[in-house]
Symmetry: C2
Subunit: 339 residues, 2 copies
């Protein structure tokens, strides 16, 4: 198989071409005995019987953008979904839907990025699938990853949204809106802004550091589609309490803020791919903040607000000038195909 080759329908046939593609590309990059066996399912041994299981499809457009690409997101997004559940990410599946005519060289770039990201996060890609559809029947390539993580005795699942109580603090692990604005800039829908870069990253290591620092974490979620705002609105809905966040404490890069203002986007709803929202008992707020800030991926972390008795079911954003507004869930779609 040469890199000049293009994907043909036969590469999804389950026959000879599929086998060639799998052995010459996927197996070479995603090295794991369970995968190399090319059986119908990966057979895995897990140290604990309590597991986290998650899935996400990735349809980001364009495939490559400043700070990331569909391959990195496909691994990091699923790793993060496991990590914010409190699990140690362990195994990943990778399923590709590819448009006929897609360059094999580009597919290899994506696969390489996935392999690197998986290695970096300490997870193994152990099972997969490839389908090919005719030209015009999908947009270049879509990737689905499912993930399996295990819970360790000392780190059980987080208590969850329902355990959140007035007085609890809300933290974010860094600047918001970077991913959405980086993808938008890559679409050439606006002038290139220097310094715009996706925050796409695996957060499992950062989250482990935070867990070591505090056993009083109630809830975590990675702020992807829908942004920070949607997470907070949903948390109000589920917990039946109110939330107050301070506008000035929310970290936003100047370039991102400027671009959002220019285009009428609200950074609260712009997607991130490497930021986690943490709700914890206030007594541990500083310990958690320190643990976040001591890690390269959490250096801009901040305490941004708290859970309150007032206005149950609603999140209020307050500014230093005394004005305030309700933070609702994202309605409609700000930026389609952001991940």
């Amino acid at each position: 198989m040469t890199k000049e080759q293009k994907i043909m329908l036969g590469h999804g046939s389950g026959g000879k071409l599929s086998h060639e593609l799998i052995s010459s590309l996927f197996l070479r990059h995603f090295q794991h005995p369970a995968l190399t066996a090319m059986t119908d399912s990966a057979v895995l041994n897990l140290p604990e019987a309590q597991l986290a299981f998650t899935t996400d499809s990735y349809v980001v457009d364009p495939l490559f953008f400043p700070g990331g690409n569909i391959g990195r997101i496909a691994v990091a997004g699923t790793v993060n979904d496991l990590a914010v559940s409190g699990a140690k990410p362990m195994f990943i599946s990778a399923a590709f839907i590819i448009e006929e005519g897609f360059p094999i060289a580009t597919l290899e770039q994506i696969v390489t990025e996935m392999a690197n990201e998986a290695r970096h996060a300490g997870v193994s890609i152990v099972t997969g699938d490839t389908k090919v559809v005719g030209t015009g029947k999908c947009d270049k390539v879509f990737i689905n990853t499912a993930g399996l993580g295990s819970f360790h005795v000392e780190f059980p699942p987080f208590p969850g949204q329902e355990s959140v109580k007035p007085g609890d603090v809300i933290l974010i692990s860094g600047t918001i809106g970077d991913h959405g604005m980086a993808v938008l800039s890559a679409r050439n829908e606006l002038p290139v802004q220097s310094g715009l870069e996706s925050d796409c990253a695996c957060l499992n290591e950062l989250i482990l550091e935070v867990r070591k620092a505090s056993s009083r974490i109630k809830f975590m979620r990675d702020a992807t589609r829908g942004g920070l705002g949607t997470i907070l609105a949903e948390l109000c809905e589920k917990s039946k309490f109110g939330i107050e966040i301070q506008y000035e404490t929310i970290p936003v890069r100047e370039t991102v803020r400027g671009m959002c203002e220019l285009l009428g986007f609200d950074p609260l709803y712009v997607a991130n791919e490497g930021k986690v929202v943490i709700v914890a008992e206030s007594s541990d707020a500083q310990r958690i903040l320190l643990a976040l800030q001591n890690h390269p991926l959490g250096k801009d972390a901040a305490i941004i607000g708290k859970v309150v008795e007032q206005h149950p079911g609603f999140c209020w954003l307050k500014t230093e000038y005394g004005s305030s507004r309700i933070v609702d869930m994202l309605a409609g779609e700000q930026l389609p195909r952001i991940c």
Copy 2:
């Protein structure tokens, strides 16, 4: 949400419309506490620590065809991949990539079929994802399912292709080619043939019966894309032995055989969605055959050949008239988007 509504980009935004779609459609049909929690990962307890993990994307065209539809295939295909590994299928993920404008009523039909098939197979759909892409950026709807199964002490993983030895017998659980021909007929590429119906079904119950009947099974695989022929060719390659199959013993419905002859298809390479190939020690051949035939999904089961010392690496198909030919892997693509 009314059934006349169509999918909008906002249904994939992660915001309000996504939440509405999830609660009013997916949660209603796929009822499971892990799913209802709407957390990033499903938290699961598994009785055993050895697991099977698999994934497949489904892009079948058309979405509905005689005997099945994309929803049933998406569940049955993944259940079968777990079952042929020897695992008890337990949990399934469901990830949708939907074209903007797709009718919600049709999505609900598909989701209902998935829920029914899962209930029937005894598996739970516990985590999921929805992405929406613009009109023309995918073909109606693609579904990915990943599956988790557990191995029980009395039913460990099958020894696998490498354990196959000369003298072992090869069985098929029923007629071949039904699925491929049913989908082809639904595409209106040929005159409607009465009695053509996909064999799309979950095989886990059938496989359990077979396991109870014999502990001398070496290898199983469901004959999907690439058909029976590709499985046998691959088995020769992996085992380093030869295979001989008898043409007359391979069950093929008359309508399927007729249509294949008319169109120049070889039933050996036509996809199935409810047939399993079993390789076992010859001493247990009759016990396995009986167990298969006693189950409705295995009533047409047959012993079709054996593993031989001769022509290592090659599978020969022999006819009663003494002629024979090599069965190679499927080259190219006979029928794109068959599953």
